[in-house]
Symmetry: C2
Subunit: 164 residues, 2 copies
């Protein structure tokens, strides 16, 4: 991989993703023209919405993503999950442990590959996933409340291009 990077700022967990308010009297210099900085601020707002939507469930973005992915792709391996999340396999394992520990997912042996597990949502996990999807979707809509439908679509498309 590429170079190293320390660690992302607060991507995942976080008690209170304090939103970043513009501090009056401060000159932001070049920051105001950087796509990266604008992205960071927008994402902080997004985290904020996310935590609001999932408060009380102990859910983090990666956990939510995992629930959705398991729901839509029954039987995925931990390695595939790691790839989707963009994290190391060991991380995917801990994440899976967490889900399994709460009886939201389970590991089933696979006939075709003795090394890998197949990951599945439990009934409880599926129910939670559905509930969270509802909440997150609603909150996500609120995130883009200041945008028209067309603007929202445009934003999604632009972001996709940036993410390549």
């Amino acid at each position: 991989m590429s170079t190293s990077r320390p660690s992302p700022a607060r991507t995942s967990r976080g008690p209170r993703p304090a939103s970043i308010a513009r501090v009056p009297g401060i000159d932001y210099d070049v920051l105001d023209t950087l796509l990266g900085y604008a992205l960071r601020r927008a994402q902080i707002a997004a985290f904020d919405q996310f935590y609001r939507a999932t408060a009380g469930y102990g859910i983090t973005p990666p956990r939510f993503t995992a629930l959705v992915i398991l729901g839509a792709n029954p039987g995925v391996s931990q390695t595939a999950l790691a790839a989707v999340l963009g994290i190391a396999r060991s991380g995917a394992m801990q994440l899976t442990d967490w889900l399994v520990g709460r009886k939201l997912a389970e590991r089933r042996a696979r006939a075709d590959d003795g090394r890998a597990w197949g990951l599945y949502l439990t009934r409880r996990g599926a129910a939670l996933a559905a509930e969270l999807k509802r909440r997150v979707r609603a909150q996500d809509a609120r995130l883009g409340a200041r945008l028209t439908a067309a603007e929202r679509r445009a934003l999604l498309r632009l972001l996709d291009r940036v993410a390549e």
Copy 2:
């Protein structure tokens, strides 16, 4: 805090696997329609660019931001810096320690307030800030390489609205 080490990373920061590739054969379900998820992926790409731009300097996004802010606002307090970064005061202190330890910034007593420090870039810090701004700006442009100037502007504006 050792010095920097090149290690790729993710999120906000840059941490993690440099980029989240779309995994073939995986159904992303609702994720594809969420603004929050699109933001996350775009930001991961942004982090990647950032780390590429600052490789070898041990710089992270918050550190870069601090350098820029100190440069444009000589004499700011640590509390103000914390507010700009959206982190706790204790975190701003550690960040400042790091900068001071590398002789990039210095704390000067303030005549008007005996409790607070005034933070300033050293000559070295100013030089580094200038160099990094150049690099980050260039890399940020690359981030939006797939966008026309108008699209880039539109994206910045939309992100700003989302961030509120």
